[in-house]
């Protein structure tokens, strides 16, 4: 009985160690976890990655026009030409690469479009991606499935859909009714066609705070107030018209940034974030982020130097 008990005990004692022993003798998983020490966030990753893929196709020592195979996400065909004009309502199944400019007429459907000098799309165009080393213009109602990238300015008409990412090396002007997830620009500007420059009346009798301001409940910064530090509210936060915040604005609920208010730092909302007419986040000297977890709405003339991001619904009002 004793020997049997000992045998059972030793067996059960050793059993959990067997698999580990095999892993020690013949290691299958002893590498260090991968950490990319060179990783730097690139706000224009999609465009830059695409440019790297098509660089060989755009070499100037090759004849144009021509069509050849192209390895994007899958095996695809690329049409390379000096200038490309896509006619209205055309449906193009090839990746279009222009050494000069590409112009897509109203109602066309295109996979990927790249123009070295410029890329333009008319009204109600459907695209997977569109990019340029120069500027990009999208007409009203254009739908982008994945991303848009311009080395220079990006002009987007009304009622567009900008897919998962829109980025520009210079100014990104986005028309009203456009939906988005992420826009990067220097700055991103919400535009309502025909509107004038924003000039809200601001009371000259404003309050001033030297440091950070933290609220445990709903909070409202009065119109015209000047805050030298950051503002944080643990619930809903409203920044009044024309108020200025030298630091960051953080709200654990919804955040409304009033008309013509200026935030030099980041604006983060764990709920929705709304930038009213002419409100500004960031400065020309430093890219900042306007982030609303559930929604991000930019009203006419609202401006973000850097990223405008949401995990929910992004919209130009």
């Amino acid at each position: 009985m004793f020997l049997l008990s000992m045998a059972i005990f030793i067996t059960l004692f050793a059993l959990p160690l067997v698999a580990g022993f095999l892993e020690i003798v013949h290691p299958n998983d002893d590498g260090r976890l991968a950490v990319d020490n060179d990783y730097m966030r690139d706000p224009r990753f999609f465009g830059n990655s695409f440019r790297a893929k098509i660089a060989s196709l755009l070499a100037t020592d090759q004849s144009v026009p021509r069509t050849q195979s192209f390895l994007g996400r899958t095996d695809e065909r690329a049409h390379v030409a000096r200038c490309i004009d896509v006619t209205a309502d055309a449906n193009v199944a090839e990746v279009l690469l222009a050494l000069d400019r590409i112009d897509i007429a109203d109602g066309a459907t295109v996979i990927d479009a790249f123009g070295k000098v410029a890329a333009t799309a008319g009204r109600n165009v459907r695209l997977r991606t569109i990019s340029s080393d120069g500027y990009v213009e999208l007409g009203d109602g254009t739908e982008v499935e994945r991303w848009v990238d311009a080395d220079d300015r990006l002009d987007v008409g009304r009622g567009c859909n900008l897919g998962v990412s829109a980025s520009a090396g210079a100014q990104a002007r986005i028309g009203s009714g456009t939906s988005f997830t992420r826009i990067f620009g220097n700055p991103v500007v919400a535009i309502r066609q025909g509107s004038d420059a924003i000039s809200e009346g601001i009371s000259p009798d404003f309050s001033a705070f030297d440091g950070n301001v933290i609220f445990e409940d709903d909070a409202e910064i009065e119109a015209g107030a000047a805050i030298a530090g950051s503002v944080k509210a643990h619930r809903r936060l409203t920044i009044g018209k024309g108020a200025t915040v030298a630091g960051n604005v953080i709200g654990r609920g919804d955040v409304i940034v009033g008309a013509a208010a200026r935030i030099d730092g980041h604006a983060f909302a764990e709920g929705s974030l709304q930038l009213d007419r002419g409100a500004r986040v960031g400065t020309p000297r430093a890219a900042k982020t306007a982030y609303g977890t559930t929604a991000l709405t930019l009203h006419d003339g609202a401006m973000v130097y850097g990223w405008a991001i949401t995990d929910g619904a992004g919209r130009i009002a």
Binding site: F9, P27, D30, R32, D38, R41, N248
Partner: protein, 315 residues
Amino acid sequence: MAGDRGKPNAMNIALRVASHDIVLVFDADYTPGRGLLRELAMGFVDPEVGAVMGRVVPRNTATNLLTRLLSLERSGGYQVDQQARYNLDLMPQYGGTVGGFRRSLVSRLGGFDVDMLAEDTDLTLRLFLEGWKVVYANRAECYEEVPETWDARFTQLRRWSRGHNRALYNNLLAVLQSKHLRFAQKVDGILLLAVYIIPPILLSGLAANALLFFMGALPIWSPLALTFFVISYNAFGNFGPVYEIGAAELLDDSNERIHLLPYLFYLFLFNSWSVTSGVLDTVGDLIKDRSPFWEKTKRAAEIDIETSGGPNVPA
């Protein structure tokens, strides 16, 4: 610049030299990447945050069994433990090896206590007691070198235990009385502070059991008791740390190394002895009112130099 040895002394010198408000700290064996500074600094966007801690990742995992087991410990400690404490708004720890703090704040708190071997734990507690928060940034990953010899590991853990228990002595009452901490934070703070007194308690239990057995007071060879003992041993796998590490390895997509989890029981016994030595050191420090000596953890390169009789410099 000159001063006494030890990290708290070095940090106090750095506080006087630094000119900007955000100070980022890396231990000497750490190799921070380019993007890490931004990842860490982003935590300070929140005006309520006093310190930020990143994730430590061993780079010498494959060296031997010890480094592999320590890699498991690190994964569980950061990927799950720290992350959970942060997500639940409890008390994530500023670990002091890949992280940062507000210089003005730490200066206002009197800098680092040079008699404190666990200046990171002490700072964590002092920040929370003053109403500040600590952010854990899991994406701010940095390679470190874990000890490759049992001797180096024993020394390191003994120092941690000695310092941590000093932090317990200094801060426990303040945690209990704090008006800034919620009840859940107080409970977590006590658990955090008390983590290095659990091993001596468990070791005492094991010793008591052994004593009772040899005195004949434990009928361990009866079939029922034997069954109970075997089940108890296997039930060890249900303890929190093992779940924690298993979950972390799954999150890290490191599936095969999970097979080493049962070996942590033996590492636990080794750790317990080391930690108990540290507890005894703390008791000695308090009784004799002595300042602890900073015994630096030996790294692989230093051990190579010692064993070869000199620095291994290529010609």
